[in-house]
Symmetry: C2
Subunit: 343 residues, 2 copies
């Protein structure tokens, strides 16, 4: 029989329906096509083609300073534009905001044809360091309510360019999904003076069946109410609401953790398409009508990273309920990922 | 520049990013493959193969009573099972419910190879009549908190069998998405003594630019904050929280309305994969700890039907914000659908 499981942070039920379960090999249809990964002389993200991108915002050079290891550029086709004043309007019963924000692309490596399992610790460290630097910079702009960092890997996960990249989007509104998560942790703290996510981590470590990998600073689990097969959440052991405040030790440790998870996902699912997402507390917000008055920090929040392979299509059930049917028990996903042979 | 638009019922922002817009013909990749629609002697939903389904719950016979026009059967691979007692449990910080519910399949027609644009008024009337009958029957079971009616049309929209069918799912929990919509309409009513959706309909009729089609009882619009291109919502003009209370006149009128919408979507997008969804108020709920005490009806709610072509893939942005990027302005979608030539 299926189970409904509740995610206390996302305040969302998931249907775990293992009768519909299959072996990991049945999920290989979502792998990122290997044949698509080839050198492309006209790739705007390749070295030598820097003139094809918009003007560089940030970069990391290689040791002898002869080339770059990573570049950040504004998205050529941004969802939101940086220039202008935010205008908030009522339209009868509706509301509207003009699309002010930021939309940056992080070109993660000069290598055109690298796949995720082959990412070195150095590539990953540089990537997370850049996430931090760009987040710190963007949050100085008081127009922005939330800063979203994500990566779409493979066509099925929404990637439109093959050369590996991540995206940072600064939004003029706070997404309800984020508000919900902030509320869950706030309410739990107000009642218990404990962090909800710290409680989750403690329970998971005690229980053990959903653990994928642990290192000194991080724990990777398949969440109790996973909405998708082989979904992995990476939690910092230390309570911290703010991704951008982590130090060098944690950045290195996060590189180690994600490398492990990517290799394990590749072992079990063969280069699956996936999304990577950082959930961190929103920046301080100055209220325009009271200059100098800042809305309080969400220190009860606990930042974390989601790594979600993409398989199941969006259908009527998801559209009508907002929750998902997961055909693989999170305990089974975790077991496959935990026990896979890393050669 | 893009716009963010707020849906006051769903309490959700959508990014309308028409810079990324394309012509309707660019969306044809989501069409339901014509070559897939062929006669299949081993189709469990075809006449003569009734023994291949589970036991019939309901059917509509043809005039000379020699065969059926529509059948309802329990899903062979149900997400939820009818038998048993609902068990609600805490699992440390988490919650869990066993998968008790109902999962029925409506075989909409004996014809194996019909496509949506060719549905007659009679097929559609029978279908909506059956939705009503099954909803009325299922809501007598006090274990169920919400009854969801939907259709997945085409592989991209989640259909796994080619022979046309809809699904009814009775859930042991109320989805947060539904709660949100019930709250929006309730709050609006408490403050204004007016229905939020009635206000929306009035504004849309006055504005005109998002109207797709109107008949005596219904109005079809592309919603102001449409999350998807060519998304259509059908509203009953008369305030009514409960789909299952509509009469014969309205059922016929709804058949006319949906036939128009399906034909227009087919004209503009060429047989697109899509989901149909009915949003109706949840049934009365008896609280087990107080027999005879029923939770009040959500009479402030306004039932409606959503028809959503499926194109855009789910990527990091949607996963991190819960809202969508729609590359087509709802006013443009509506104009295409309103002005298309119906031959």
């Amino acid at each position: 029989m299926s189970d409904l499981r509740y995610d206390p942070v996302k305040q969302r039920w998931t249907v775990i329906a293992p009768e519909r379960a299959r072996r990991p090999s049945d999920f290989n249809y979502n792998r990122m096509p290997i044949e698509d990964i080839e050198d492309a002389g006209d790739c705007p993200f390749c070295p030598g083609n820097e003139h094809m991108t918009t003007e560089e915002i940030f970069s990391i050079k290689n040791e002898n300073n002869e080339g770059w290891l990573l570049r950040v550029v504004p998205n050529m086709y941004p969802i939101f534009k940086v220039e202008g004043k935010i205008e908030r309007k009522g339209v009868g019963v509706y509301d509207k905001i003009n699309g002010i924000g930021a939309h940056e692309v992080i070109i993660e490596t000069p290598l055109h044809n690298i796949i995720l399992k082959d990412y070195s610790l150095k590539i990953l460290y540089n990537l997370f360091y850049t996430f931090k630097i760009r987040m710190l910079d963007l949050r100085r702009d008081i127009r922005f309510r939330y800063i979203l960092i994500f990566k779409n890997y493979g066509e099925k996960a929404g990637a439109t360019l093959k050369h590996q990249h991540s995206q940072i989007i600064a939004l003029p509104v706070m997404p309800k999904m984020v508000t919900t998560m902030l509320e869950s942790t706030k309410k739990h703290y107000e009642k218990k003076e404990r962090c909800l996510v710290c409680d989750i981590i403690e329970q998971e470590l005690k229980e053990g069946s959903r653990i994928v990998y642990e290192n000194f600073d991080f724990v990777a689990i398949c969440p109790y109410a996973s909405a998708f097969p082989f979904e992995v959440t990476v939690y910092p052991r230390k309570h911290n609401h703010d991704f951008a405040s982590i130090g060098d030790q944690e950045l290195s440790s996060l590189a180690d953790m994600t490398r492990e998870v990517f290799i394990r996902l590749n072992q079990v699912l063969i280069n699956p398409a996936l999304n990577v997402l950082i959930h961190s507390a929103p920046p301080l917000v100055e209220r325009p009508e009271y200059p100098g008055y800042w809305k309080s920090l969400h220190v009860d929040y606990h930042w974390h990273m989601e790594i979600t392979p993409r398989f199941t299509s969006f259908a009527g059930f998801e559209g009508g309920t907002g929750f998902h049917i997961n055909p693989v028990k999170p305990e089974d996903s975790a077991k496959f990922l935990r026990e896979t042979h890393i050669g």
